[in-house]
Symmetry: D2
Subunit: 394 residues, 4 copies
């Protein structure tokens, strides 16, 4: 029995705001009836405004993993080569998924301490004279490491190499938290999920699809039914779905879309940047190291922090959960027990961040991790800069 | 703007009870944290008690259509023959899905006015000397027609034919409303969904898997990732999932499992039988015809009613929705505009049924369908029989 | 353990719609902060539109009984004579309350089978040459009997008698269900509550106050603090309250006000009239008698039904609750065990009414009350008349 | 539009936990039906365990102000003298209320910087040879100042003076947060409300009543109806109420009682003490002064902080609300604009406190209040002491 609110500071699922929970807490409706069309259309059109695309968005009743699968099975044929980039655990999982589906992923390896390097991608594409590579797949925000891949630069690299492969981007943990422009950046398939920047519970996933990808899909040889874009297209055009949609999650999605536009997407992005900066200031003050080594790749939605050699990040997380009722993300695979991850995404504000960082600072002490006090203090200073001008004027 | 509660009397999604909506209306939790294991285990174990199986159940964040796909891709190889039975629209959709996945469905055709005929299945299996048929797939409760297939008899027919095919049953609209026994009836893969007898919103689907099916799965050649039973098995054993589960729907599922056992599954089944009998009495009194012609196949969860030649069932449904705020199911495909379907499943009671039948009776009049008044009256008489003994004793 | 929704067909509290429950299910806010003013103003202004008044409305965190007390203590002095009218149990309770507060109620007795008779009131007032009577108090809709007092006629009677007493009307079970016009009808103090036509849970009560009553209040000698209009007035003028308001009920009230105006008050009143007519048709078909003997006084919000001599209305209600999960209102005091009351108020529609009447008809049989079958059938015919023109045109 | 959760850090209403909001979010039930008795009995019996009394508790649908009035009108007669103690704004309001009800309060004045002094009370009582004083009324936790009156010592003072007056204690902002023992401490009437330690929205209030007070009530001359203990007693004995109770708030109250006992009242009290100590450490580090000057009187539920001369506490609060979406309590009456109040009561935990104090520290800077940085840091150190032993053992 614990009092007060749990601090859910994993890098997703994020804290679901009351407005969204309440929007979902309504009777399920007839998904074939006339009133449903408004719900469906709002969701499908609204998501275009979030992906910043004029082309098609499809919505699946599934986790984000399903949208990874959908992106591949709709566009590729058995044995196709895809270029993937090892930014971390989730990029590796996507690669494994490609292998299970009978694709041939070429994997650019890395040390997990940065986003994907467009130059390395360009080099591989230039070397692929025969255009064996059918798709380049990158993770926009690698949730396991807190590194952001510059997707627009990947597109530029592809164009520079004159390579016709499709560009696919996983924005599961970045969409609606970090700037993303499906159309302007020339992405062909964007993959996303509901439970991070969209502030929903898990259970919905998305593909945003360029016209080129839609066209490619017609001849793609991998078999598909549940994930078929073609089957979605007809019913979606009038606001319906080919099979029963996750109606109550769509109620929540429509509320989320409203909330994001009420705040303004640019304000949402700036809010996340500011919280990430304050978090990194705290980490620096504690004398700890951020996993991502490339400053401009550091994620606005989560910060992975390395614990000193000889100390256990998982023990620290367990102590913090027990003593302060806060969940933090664990290190996965290559960095298991070496890092912990602070989620600062979704429906989040300054004082929730201060509570979060206070929990980390107290947890470090309780778990016997060597650190310097003062991280929260450093964060307060960064957060306060927003109001410097107002103070000066007063 | 309409006052009062909408009557959602399509044959699913069914009316979600407040207890379940409220159970879902809680903050999403860390699906990797220690507290989640209790949620996951309760859902996975609880669903075994609903399927009446001792073997494995998997839960997908998806619609029921996903669980159809999962049943096939985990057990079959490209080009495999499967025996399917045209009980109605959904059986036909499952067949189409099998075709899309590169399987070879043999389809026993029918007039949609009964459940599957075990004798016809036995005949086909006996003819399949080479055991080309790898699976027999039937729909337990065909939602488009209101016909129930006697699944235990199908198993007996398979055994009589000495055929080794797997038996797969779709219980999407029957589970937790109509008696079903995965183990006792020798079913290998049972497919189900959340939004009917389980009283949840759509968004979860299920496979119950016999040990034989699990074994067969190891060598099955269709490619799979999201739907992979093997990937589920490990994490499921400790209450976790290989990818992010639909956490809030799981909260609701656990509440549903509790509610079903509080009422008692046998009482739930009897309740549905009684409501179906009262509904059929009303249909008879109106002088209309039930689509399903085989009395013992008539569904406890929905009743499809034929409208007289020259009249439009869809116009009747539109009038009933507009005048009485009640959604009824439409006729699909072969019976489009020829039937309407009354759902009487899920969280439902006598007075909700009386309201439903009243809406049908008034809608028949308003839509100009020839009918005799007195259907509701007839239903009241059937419902009251439950209390005859108590009355006699008083 | 019962399945489906409980039918709460007492004459209030009425069924609270989901929109209102969800509106209340939000975090309590600072009732002294700047954001609260919008909530308070909307509630206070919105209630004027429901009472149809331009003068002041006050809102108490209390049951309706509190608003009865408030009406008296703000306007009267110890020993004052008030003219009250015995329309039923609640009129009698209000009289008792007046006695407890040291007032001197003169009570016009009646047989509980009609609303108040304006002529009888006029006669008493004409006899009161010395204007000892300071207030005339009537119950607009007597919840214990289902009789409506013609309040506008009472005002006309008072004016005809040239009597300066204040006119007070209890609209606890009529407001927002039965037409009421505080200003046009010359009412000085209207008393109401949240849990009937306003569709809220109990916990809020109201006084609408004419300028004359406000003026009279200044010199009124009864002591008051919690109920003081004068203390409310200042804070209310800017949307605040002198003590902590029932914030979450106010959230719900504001939603209720929106819902009532979305449907349109005149449509709401017509809906209740139509349901009452259908209910009375059922009662007549059953061969039972409505308690209220004056046709134009019969209530649009509830119907009190007499059971034949020698039968127990309370046993009937207990049987109906047990067999059909429906709560009906009991007979109170003078008519205890002689009548049952069917509530058809608040957020209610045709099919809910049909379910309700079906429960009554089955309950009559199960409880062994002599009746003729066919009440529900009769109600269906009345309800269908609304669509006669549309049918004829089709 | 603000993101994330509002920090409601006024000293009540406190943050309502999801469990309680959801418990309230259920359909209203028949408060005269058989199922209600369980709800009513649980609430009435449960509140005895919170007040720590074996005698009667009554529950009003009203704000705490109503329970103040109820305590007086049930026990006193017009013109009676009551001894009250000016601990702050709310003690003064109670005194004003007594005056409005025709009582004669003798008011022991104070500078608002401590709880009531039992010695001063004893002195007044000793001087009252004729036992004109009928009741001694103290505020247990003065919400306007953050000072706690030692109620057990007041009882000892009364006994030492051999005075027969009733002892009344207002625990509106202390009950279920600060230790209180109605029976052991010899309190005759304890007044309380729902929206502080009980974690509910406002709308319920309470009197706990000693047998002596109940006896005195029989002859008390003040008029009463809504507040009458005698009218409550009969229906309460079987779990019912004399008029419509605030049903949905009772649902929440029963959940609150469960939550308090799950945590354990002693743990709840210790949690509040610890948070208060951390808050005072922050205030000291900031170089600011706590309003309450008597260390052992300092409140576990709120801390009132003085701003330096020449600075505006209200401007600070407005800046903090605007910049950090946190509501703090204002200075009332004598200390208007001189203090701000930090609420740390109800459903509250360490990280919520850290967020709160961070908001204060940043707000001080933004509002130009002279302060020293480091308050949050000081609080972290105090909070961490709880885990010192565990750390040492590890």
């Amino acid at each position: 029995m614990t009092a007060g609110r749990h601090f859910l500071q994993i890098p997703g699922p994020s804290n679901v705001p009351d407005r969204i929970l309440r929007a979902m807490d309504y009777p399920t409706m007839d998904h074939r009836g006339p009133a449903f069309a408004d719900v469906g259309r709002k969701a499908l059109e609204g998501m275009k405004s979030i992906f910043k695309t004029e082309s098609r968005v499809v919505i699946y009743p599934s986790s984000g993993t399903g949208a990874w699968e959908a992106a591949l099975v709709n566009t590729l044929s058995p044995g196709d080569t895809v270029l993937m980039y090892e930014t971390g655990h989730f990029a590796t999982l996507w690669k494994s998924l490609a292998q299970k589906l009978d694709l041939n992923p070429v994997f650019i390896e890395s040390d997990w301490r940065a986003g994907a390097d467009p130059a390395a991608i360009e080099e591989r594409l230039r070397a692929d004279k025969g255009h064996e590579i059918k798709a380049v797949c990158v993770v926009h925000n690698e949730t396991s490491t807190g590194s952001v891949t510059p997707v627009a630069d990947v597109r530029r690299a592809m164009d520079a190499a004159g390579h016709p492969a499709l560009l696919m981007a996983d924005t599961i943990s970045s969409l609606a938290s970090v700037e993303f422009k499906h159309d302007d950046w020339g992405v062909d398939v964007t993959v996303s999920g509901s439970q991070k920047g969209l502030m929903l519970p898990p259970g919905l996933s998305f593909n945003a699809i360029s016209d080129k990808a839609m066209k490619v899909s017609e001849a793609a040889g991998l078999k598909r039914a549940y994930w078929s874009w073609a089957d979605m297209a007809g019913p979606n055009d009038t606001g319906y779905f080919p099979y029963t949609p996750a109606t109550n999650l769509l109620y929540g999605l429509n509320e989320a879309i409203d909330m994001l536009h009420e705040e303004g997407l640019d304000n949402v992005f700036a809010r996340h940047q500011r919280h990430a900066a304050a978090t990194r200031a705290a980490v620096k003050a504690w004398g700890l190291e951020v996993l991502c080594q490339v400053p401009e790749h550091r994620s606005p939605v989560l910060t992975a922090v390395m614990v000193p050699e000889g100390h256990s990040a998982d023990n620290f997380r367990a102590v913090t959960l027990r003593n302060y009722d806060m969940s933090l993300g664990n290190g996965l695979s290559k960095v298991a027990d070496r890092v912990f991850r602070i989620g600062h995404l979704g429906d989040f504000n300054d004082l929730m961040l201060c509570g979060t960082l206070s929990g980390v600072e107290m947890g470090l002490r309780d778990a016997g991790i060597p650190y310097r006090a003062g991280g929260v203090q450093a964060a307060l200073e960064v957060l306060g800069q927003k109001f410097d001008a107002a103070r000066a004027a007063a």
